[in-house]
């Protein structure tokens, strides 16, 4: 026990480690905020950068960047409607309308506090029940991931504000965009039209930057001459009353976040979308409707995506298996540094586990401090004249999409999606379902085919599996119930 505590406090008592966690968190916030710069990319650069360092120092920096980066994505989502990272997509739904109402400061303040609460809950669950949670996560068979993806796609019902048919169309279109590229099973091209450039697929960040950032910038051209809303920059730090009001929601969505994060096949982006949907279903009377700047729509995804960080470390620390792309790179870093990440990690080197937990807690405290710093300055960004803001957003989108793979092709794709998004927006299509399709479509395709292959391509055996395994049965029941209660065939016709 004493050892555990000393490992836990290692990052706190050593000023050098403390500084590294703080630097990492600070850098992470801005890496996360800039679209196109991902935490995965930053951490893999850090492997080379910290090659000669002690493993603790390297891990301290990486943990900081990870925590900061997941949070940072929300900043540009709120201010400019460009989610800096996929996990911030759901934040943009209500965060951006809030900024447009003059509450950018409050939105960032609240999202910071809720991110930290979510992050802390994630760490607490990681510390308390990592082995149990990872055993549970292993129970998820391909068919269960398929059901989760299906469950996710049903969120279209709550994302498509006015017309369900339009929502379905948008989600299916997103799914098709996600299919572009080489089929992972047969290595044959899908929707590539023979182009080698397309074999790798269209990165979903490209789609995101185009549909959200560029489309919104083009849309803003219409309101060039209206003066932007003046931002209320007093009361940036949310009152205790406000925090307490949203605490139950934050707790529930954090638990969603940890579980989805701990599943090796899903991460913070899906967790945030599920949380948003949960908030929308459980909040019967929001003060402001969802999609127009509801605080609930901000609290839920922000709690969930930061809680997912703790979740992602669960399979990594207990089994040496990555919980998401970032932990995959951190595992790589540990290998490079001479550790053997595997099931024995917690037994052979328990200090690594508690050191990471300690560093995560510290990173969240740094997040609170850095996140609440400089909000007033950031909120002013929304007040910039549109004549400056629009070209600036475009340049940022171009640089962001170029830096993902260093190719101009992707930049043209990004612009294409921007124009598509602009027209879809005009004619009442929502962007949320498209992103949902891009994220979940490939997951559904992959897991469906895995599940089918496991039962020897027999549809009847596949359907039997869905109801004979307890876990699958629960998930199937939820899917069917949701399908019946929220998307009756009748509504399809009346709510168009």
């Amino acid at each position: 026990m004493g050892d555990t505590l000393s490992y836990f406090l290692m990052a706190w008592s050593d000023p050098w480690l403390l500084g590294l966690v703080a630097t990492g968190t600070f850098a992470g916030i801005y890496i996360g905020a800039i679209p196109g710069l991902s935490v995965t990319m930053a951490v893999s650069i850090l492997i080379s950068f910290t090659f000669a360092w002690d493993i603790n120092n390297a891990l301290a920096l990486m943990v900081g960047v990870f925590c900061g980066g997941v949070y940072g994505g929300s900043r540009t989502a709120i201010l400019l409607n460009i989610p800096g990272a996929p996990s911030a997509v759901a934040t943009a739904f209500d965060g951006y309308p809030l900024a447009q109402r003059g509450e950018a400061g409050q939105a960032i303040g609240l999202s910071t506090v809720m991110s930290v609460i979510g992050g802390m809950i994630g760490i607490a669950i990681l510390a308390a029940s990592a082995p149990v949670l990872s055993d549970m996560a292993l129970q998820f068979a391909p068919r269960d991931y398929f059901l989760i993806a299906a469950l996710g796609l049903l969120l279209v019902g709550s994302l498509a504000a006015e017309s369900l048919a339009r929502g379905i169309f948008a989600a299916a279109l997103g799914g098709i965009i996600g299919m572009i590229g080489m089929d992972p099973v047969t290595a044959q091209g899908r929707f590539t039209f023979g182009s080698v450039d397309l074999l790798g697929g269209v990165h979903y960040v490209i789609v995101m930057i185009g549909l959200f950032g560029v489309a919104e910038a083009l849309f803003q051209l219409h309101q060039l001459d209206t003066t932007p809303v003046r931002q209320k920059v007093d009361k940036i730090i949310p009152s205790l009353h406000l925090v307490l009001r949203f605490l139950p929601l934050s707790l529930r969505t954090s638990i969603i976040g940890v579980i989805i994060g701990a599943l090796p096949g899903t991460g913070g982006d899906i967790a945030a979308l599920f949380a948003y949907d949960h908030a929308k279903r459980t909040t019967k009377t929001p003060k402001v409707p969802f999609g127009e700047g509801a605080y609930e729509g901000l609290v839920a995804p922000e709690s969930a995506n930061n809680a997912a960080v703790g979740g992602a470390f669960v399979p990594m620390l207990t089994l040496g298996m990555p919980g998401d792309a970032v932990t995959a790179v951190i595992i790589g870093a540990m290998v490079v540094h001479g550790l053997n990440p595997g099931p024995m990690l917690m037994i052979e080197t328990p200090h690594i586990f508690w050191f990471i937990v300690g560093a995560l807690v510290l990173a969240n405290i740094c997040l609170l401090v850095f996140g609440l710093m400089g909000i007033k300055l950031f909120a002013r960004v929304v007040e910039l004249p549109r004549a400056i803001l629009i070209p600036l957003i475009l340049v940022l989108c171009v640089v962001g999409s170029y830096s993902i793979n260093g190719s101009m092709t992707e930049v043209f794709w990004m612009l294409g999606f921007g124009l598509l998004g602009y027209f879809m927006k005009i004619f009442g299509f929502q962007m949320g379902p498209v992103i949902l399709g891009v994220i979940l479509g490939p997951l559904m395709d992959k897991t469906y085919r895995q599940a089918m292959a496991s039962v020897g391509d027999s549809s009847s055996a596949f359907l039997m599996d869905l109801v004979t395994h307890p876990l699958s049965l629960i998930l199937t029941a939820v899917v069917v119930l949701l399908l019946l209660s929220h998307t009756p065939v009748k509504r399809l016709w009346t709510r168009r």
């Binding site: 080379s48 950068f49 290595a187 074999l199 995959a328 992959k446 292959a453």
Partner: protein
């Protein structure tokens, strides 16, 4: 914003200091871009990132690594082949390019580039879950013979390591299985830990920790002799002696540049990589991961690549999984 800028400047100043002064010699005059054809955190990525600092030291220059994954590595290799042939872009690749032609994935392979160094070769182990009823390779083969097409094998897609190993086994025996495709070794192992698949041929680097911890059982290593890191796991030739003609075989890692790169640059690079691979720390890194270093350059590297391609392509041909016949591609029989 100002703070961000300040942080930028201090960090970048630090980076420049760490990089050290760049030599006044002709090459390299500026940073070299290293393109890794697999994603961050994978085996190829780990090898590249462990090796590069030692090469930088020998080269007295900086190599900036970028992952360009996708399309079984076709994207990354294609990128390098379209950059100028000036030695400022190098490819960190795995074994996959040698199978592009037979799999019909692309019309190029390593012979369209110049190998700078064949870094090393990994080992393969056939693994099953810890509570699997199969305790030996013979058990597994018997189960497959009794109930053809019912065992679930974890795969990584056409041209991936498991399907190549399956092809080798099928060219000397019959192993009729359901091929469940995962995104890589990691997701496959995770599925196996949850008993969602019955077995999977894995790179030793990915599987050894799980086997040592008793979460997976190793049935056979794809080698003629037992391995030091897993002495209790039998060799595959103990069950299938005929497969010995393909061995030694395993996934490998290589560094290559475009063919028309000037010869003196190729020579400088070869020397630097040879020094880097020979580094003690890197050697022990490779050994820890259940692989062996080869450190082949020049004609040796070319011979190794050709031999690997001919063995693998013809094994796939005789198992019936090659899409384009190696004969048509004028790949000689081993």
């Amino acid at each position: 914003m100002l703070k961000a800028l300040l942080a930028t400047l201090t960090l970048s100043a630090g980076a420049t200091l760490l990089a050290g002064p760049i030599q006044a010699a002709d090459y390299p005059q500026r940073n070299i871009e290293g393109i890794i054809q697999w994603g961050a955190g994978g085996a190829t990525d780990n090898v590249a990132r462990s090796l590069t600092p030692h090469v930088e030291e020998a080269l007295n220059g900086k190599i900036i690594l970028n992952n360009r994954p996708g399309g079984t590595g076709v994207i990354g290799m294609n990128t390098v082949m379209h950059k100028p042939a000036n030695g400022y872009t190098v490819l960190y690749g795995a074994e996959n390019p040698q199978l592009y032609p037979v799999m019909g994935l692309a019309d190029f392979d390593y012979s369209d580039m110049t190998p700078i160094n064949v870094i090393g070769q990994g080992m393969v182990v056939i693994a099953v879950p810890a509570d699997s009823p199969y305790n030996t390779m013979d058990d597994l083969l018997k189960a497959a013979h009794d109930k053809p097409g019912e065992l679930r094998m974890g795969g990584t897609g056409a041209g991936g390591l498991p399907s190549t190993v399956l092809a080798m086994i099928n060219s000397v025996d019959t192993l009729d299985v359901r091929n469940v495709t995962f995104g890589g070794d990691g997701p496959g192992i995770t599925a196996m830990l949850g008993d969602h698949i019955d077995f999977m041929p894995l790179s030793l680097a990915a599987a050894q920790e799980q086997i040592k911890a008793g979460r997976l059982k190793g049935l056979a290593v794809l080698s003629k002799e037992r391995l030091d890191v897993l002495p209790e796991v039998p060799t595959i030739t103990e069950s299938l002696p005929d497969i010995g003609s393909y061995l030694p075989w395993g996934p490998f890692w290589a560094v290559a540049v475009r063919k028309d790169t000037p010869d003196d640059i190729k020579a400088t690079l070869s020397k630097a990589y040879q020094t880097g691979v020979a580094n003690k720390d890197f050697q022990s890194f490779i050994k820890r991961n259940g692989a062996e270093t080869l450190n082949l350059t020049g004609q040796e590297a070319v011979d190794f690549l050709n031999h690997w391609q001919s063995v693998t392509a013809w094994a796939m041909q005789s198992a019936g999984t090659a899409r384009v016949s190696p004969e048509k591609l004028s790949i000689p029989k081993p």
